[in-house]
């Protein structure tokens, strides 16, 4: 990619069309409201946060009304009120906090390994054609396979312990990271690379100062996708582990409470999972807005 292409100025292996390049294909297409060509309604003119809050409140109200009016058994379904009180109790007696810590620890170790491996694969894919073929093939093969599906194998290889979980998570994370990062590096604007070479830049400084920031939109979307994959995978794996795992993450917490028919606790666990998911995604989005969106390299 350092080689200048005479006259055309185009990188030969542009995998993604530039307009859609900020989003990987599994993320779907963005549909901005303005694209429909219609005037925004009064609802669309409200601030996003207000609209979302209203929808949220209405949903919770329906939920509470359903449970209160239909007198659903508390062994089958919980009201939002009892779920929230179970959430508060669970957090104050430390049970949910401990479970969350366990889950996050396993997840972070798995993601860290996945990210490092993904970066290594990216280097391979950027440097060699064989490396790129390897990444493309592995992603195409592994992508339709839910990463939880290899848990039985992982248990045979590593035993009933956290190593099996870490393996499954790393596997879930490494491929989206590798394909996004390598797409980021191979689609760096060749003019930008020439402008940098013009200064005599090469080697590590070229990578650090030019290629990494230029590939950042892809790297961020890779991290977002792998967070989503990893988070779902770790919960699912803990559920499958069930009581056998023993160490007890959030999935285990839900499973145990289901076993003892403590439905409010099950809901409290689910709410915790949702909140952590939302918070981390919000943090990643905030990082994206502060960097690539502010620099005009990606749309929000």
């Amino acid at each position: 990619m350092y080689k200048a292409e005479p006259e055309t100025g185009q990188s030969p292996a542009l995998q993604v069309p530039p307009q859609r390049s900020r989003r990987a294909w599994w993320q779907g297409a963005a549909t901005p409201a303005s694209a429909t060509g219609r005037q925004p309604t009064w609802w669309a003119r409200l601030p996003t946060i207000v609209r979302r809050t209203i929808v949220f409140v209405v949903l919770v109200a329906f939920w509470q009304a359903y449970v209160s009016l239909k007198h659903v058994s508390h062994l089958v379904f919980s009201s939002p009120a009892s779920a929230i009180s179970a959430l508060i109790t669970g957090w104050s007696n430390g049970q949910i906090a401990a479970a969350t810590a366990t889950t996050l620890e396993v997840l972070l170790i798995g993601m860290a390994i996945g990210l490092v491996l993904g970066a290594l694969f990216t280097v391979l894919a950027t440097a060699t054609t064989v490396g790129r073929d390897f990444i493309m093939l592995m992603t195409a093969m592994v992508n339709p396979l839910p990463s939880i599906a290899i848990l039985p194998l992982a248990i045979i290889w590593f035993g009933l312990n956290n190593k099996a979980l870490v393996f499954v998570i790393a596997n879930a994370v490494v491929w989206p990271i590798a394909i996004n990062m390598s797409a980021g590096f191979t689609t760096v604007n060749p003019t930008l690379v020439m402008a940098a070479r013009n200064l005599g830049l090469k080697g590590w400084r070229m990578i650090k100062d030019i290629l990494l920031p230029a590939a950042l939109p892809y790297i961020i979307s890779g991290v977002k996708v792998s967070w989503a994959f990893g988070w779902r995978t770790v919960i699912a794996a803990e559920l499958v582990f069930g009581t056998a795992g023993g160490s007890g993450g959030l999935g285990y917490y839900i499973n145990t409470n289901q076993y003892f028919l403590k439905l409010p606790n099950v809901f409290a666990g689910l709410i915790t999972i949702a909140i952590i998911g939302v918070v981390v995604e919000a943090l990643l989005n905030a990082f994206e807005r502060q960097t690539v969106v502010r620099w005009g390299m990606a749309r929000s």
Partner: protein, 295 residues
Amino acid sequence: MGTSQHSAADSRAHARGDAGAPGTAMDEARLRGGHGQAGEPLLLVDHVRISYRMRREVVTAVADACFEMRRHERLILIGPSGCGKSTLLKAIGGFLQPDAGTIRFDGRTDLAPGPDRAVVFQEFDQLFPWKTVLENVAYPLRVTGRDRAGARERALEFLEMTGLGPAASRHPHELSGGMKQRVAIARALALEPTMLLMDEPFGSLDAITRARLQRELKRIAQRTRVAVFFVTHSIQEALMLADRIVVLSPPPSTVLEVVDVSDIDSPSDSRYLETQGRLHKMLGATDEDLPDVQG
């Protein structure tokens, strides 16, 4: 680049004796644009051939280019599209190697890309989007060895010079195309290059912005005495900026002629129209094309 081959057109060009091949004294004089001048030229392009692979075939962009450039000179390279102007500029910039011939710059022939030949590209996206305007100009100065304070001060000075002071803290995507090109020019000038390589830098601008930037560039080049090697396909631009104009033929290209226009100052000069007409003819315009004079 890959292997090269002599095309039929290539050898026809030689047979016509258009340029390039070692020729008579008259040829030599014509290639220098009439002004014989003593001393080592800043840039010597000597029988340079550049071809590149496109899918299966090898395309010879530049068949045989010969010209030289003096210090502090503004040399414009003009030619029809696809004649290898940009390719030649990239070779001088050190981004690609000629298949044959030599390029001697400032006494050297082993040309890696370097800040002594600062390049301004046509594309607006040559600026680093994650850096502000100020950082875009200061960063190259840091790379080439200045300390933080020195780089910043010098960057501000060149932003002032190009009228970009108020935009210093903006990011490139918040600038118009003309301002982006101005930043690119400021960034290149701040490096104090021996030569400025400009690859149709105003090619994507509207006519008014373009004319304004041409005037500014000329003024700054006259003031800083930086040598400017400027690629364009616009005859108007060439006449406006040049000391001398190197005219390339269609690909595989050779140098048709080097025209000295350093003493033609204004479009009202009678020689302006005459030279303009001559350049049009050289670039292959027929009489029907001629009324459409603006490039």
